[in-house]
Symmetry: C2
Subunit: 392 residues, 2 copies
């Protein structure tokens, strides 16, 4: 056979910094980071994309950003800070994607410039995607503003927007050059958003780190009391587990496996069915509950352990199911989520279940009958109150 073979590898690395009040004049972390990376002869422009919800909750942020860069001679802040709606709205409408591209075009942002996105996961996804494709890649920095984005999506390598009504139909795998987790931004979250991201910590603990699961159990009261120190520990350990997973596995998801999506096939579908009135983290909590019970009913996981997991989820104040989360063996909207999950992964269905607390196991099919049982039990537990024994 007549051919040439091409073979190369590309090295990626970035840091996830933990700080407080990133844009305070006295905080030199970001300034030093940018200064160290400055190449002689280049003029680095900086374009900000801010989450409207975050700005509403922290109205001083835009002015703090302007002040922060007013004395940084070697960087040129684009004074028009772009503000886009938070949540799925940012990803559903093409106009925000185009708005960022237009700013890149009009302000001559090049590959040595930075796009800094500050906000929840959806805004980071949107801005990261725009940065990934403009000029085949502008450096981008993420400043996640929620628990969910600080411990999960914001530290990873994926970005994207929705298209044709399909979640993340367009996107790419492009790592940020840095992530800055600012604890101050968590203080302005409402109760639902404070709690919501904790479900991703439970998820990654369940499939990878039993000790982390028990630590969360021990800290339920502090987390509910909005203890920032405890939340920081949770965020950091969760981020660390996500980073390790990415670097140890298949960072750009060239295969079919997606272990970190434990509990997510139903969560994604529920978000969509509820028209995103259920937050991602809330849906993930319900998705974990469903697949945990399914793991027990299908004989993979000890019933007492399943109960313990569901109890933790409820102790934190999460709902464990939802009227739209009904699974019918004969077919239900939620069950279509399995097929959509398969299609998005491509190829073979691969679902993560549990064989123990801290131990995931992958399967390639789910039994609709057992799934219906799991769904019904969850509804029963949810209605019957707290301490009902899971039968498995």
């Amino acid at each position: 056979m007549n051919y040439l073979e091409q073979r190369f590898s590309v090295q990626f690395n970035y840091k996830v910094f933990f700080t407080s009040d990133l844009f305070a004049e006295s905080n030199k972390l970001l300034e030093n980071f940018l200064a160290e990376r400055k190449e002689s002869g280049t003029e680095a422009k900086i374009l900000f994309v801010l989450d409207e919800g975050l700005v509403t909750a922290n109205p001083s942020i835009p002015q703090k950003i302007r002040n922060y860069f007013s004395n940084a001679d070697s960087f040129q802040l684009v004074s028009d800070l772009i503000i886009v709606p938070g949540g799925e709205a940012a990803k559903n409408n093409n106009i925000y994607f185009n708005q960022i591209l237009e700013a890149v075009h009009n302000h001559g942002i090049d590959r040595h410039s930075y796009l800094i996105a500050v906000g929840g996961g959806a805004v980071l996804d949107l801005a990261g995607y725009a940065a990934a494709v403009a000029h085949r890649g502008i450096k981008h920095i993420r400043v996640p503003g929620t628990v969910l984005s600080q411990n999960d999506s914001g530290v990873g390598v994926k970005n994207g927007i929705n298209y044709f009504g399909k979640k993340n139909f367009l996107g790419s795998f492009v790592p940020p050059v840095a992530v800055f987790n600012d604890e101050q931004l968590l203080l302005s979250l409402d109760t639902r958003n404070w709690r919501s991201g904790i479900s991703e910590a439970i998820k990654v603990a369940l499939i990878k780190d039993a000790d982390f699961f028990y630590w969360i159990e021990d800290n339920v009261a502090a987390l509910k009391d909005r203890n920032l120190n405890v939340m920081n520990q949770l965020v950091k350990r969760c981020a660390e587990l996500h980073l390790e997973h990415i670097s140890g596995g298949d960072p750009f998801e060239l295969g079919s496996s997606r272990p970190l999506d434990f509990g997510h096939w139903s969560a994604h579908k529920l978000e969509q069915l509820s028209q995103f009135t259920v937050l991602h983290g809330e849906a993930v909590a319900m998705g974990i509950a469903l697949d945990t019970l399914y793991s027990a009913i299908s004989g993979r996981l000890d019933g007492d352990k399943a109960q313990r997991i569901i109890q933790l989820i409820r102790d934190l104040g999460f709902e464990i199911t939802h009227p739209l989360m009904q699974v019918k063996e004969s077919g239900s909207p939620l069950l279509q989520g399995l097929e959509e999950f398969r299609e998005h992964l491509g190829g073979r269905l691969t679902i993560m279940l549990l064989s123990d607390i801290g131990k995931g196991v992958e399967v390639n099919e789910m039994d609709p009958g057992l799934l219906e049982q799991a769904g019904e039990q969850l509804h029963a537990i949810s209605g019957a109150g707290y301490s009902r024994k899971v039968t498995a």
Copy 2:
């Protein structure tokens, strides 16, 4: 400092196959390639994007493709072959990009499916970009249909479309899973397109491989006579040098250097100024001539060698300059190409020049006065005929 560090590398590899009549029923190369990569439990769909110009020149191609896949039970050909205009038109208008995405959406093309693009560099760029971002990356296969795409753009890792009137404003670095260079497609090229791609071979020879330059000199007559065997040798060596460059350097262009863009700053601008009536390869031939003379005038390259290079370009039938290629020290549209090149690279201007045949040298500025001299000499040589001595 409080941080986590992420570090990983991603391995890429793909083959560039050389074959004849890829879609002939008797040619099992593509079928075997797909069969070997088939994962059990997956259903691979295949979506074709064809270059209209190529289909016009090879009207049997669509039917041959349908026949080829009619017996391949394990693959499902999407029977609507997408046909888009060739050349920059494919990249200038968003509707072709959307047309491909809509097909991906409507036919449920997933990450285990293939998008196969057949055509010139522009169509490959467009289709590769759509494949790169749909579902964060569908596998794509390139079947380059021109000399230029078989020996240069088609074998590389870049893709993209034009936006806001800027060439490749949107794009990404995503390698194909395979490239199939089909010599039969070259036979249907008109004289301009047959010749055009040879300039990229001259370019890469000049900066990397003196022996290849002399080989091209020895084969001018055969190349002009459309000797397919000699052209195959040229395409293969040129593709090989490009592949080696990519794997040995900075595949995703994270730095500012772009050695393979020798002669390209003025070529890109000329293409645009001429509204793409000058073909890319023709513009590159003129760009090489300009930067070769500039290399001599600025004292880097021996004058006789500069003359020898320009003579080869002319012997092949290329023009060495163009009325729109005037450089004025006081400013000219062409000179703006330097600034646009800097902006697209990002940061510092980096231009490849020559210190010898087969030896490139990078510089960070060009002297407009000397550039004007080089431009004027080229016009004079061009007007004065063949054997005028280059003065340098």
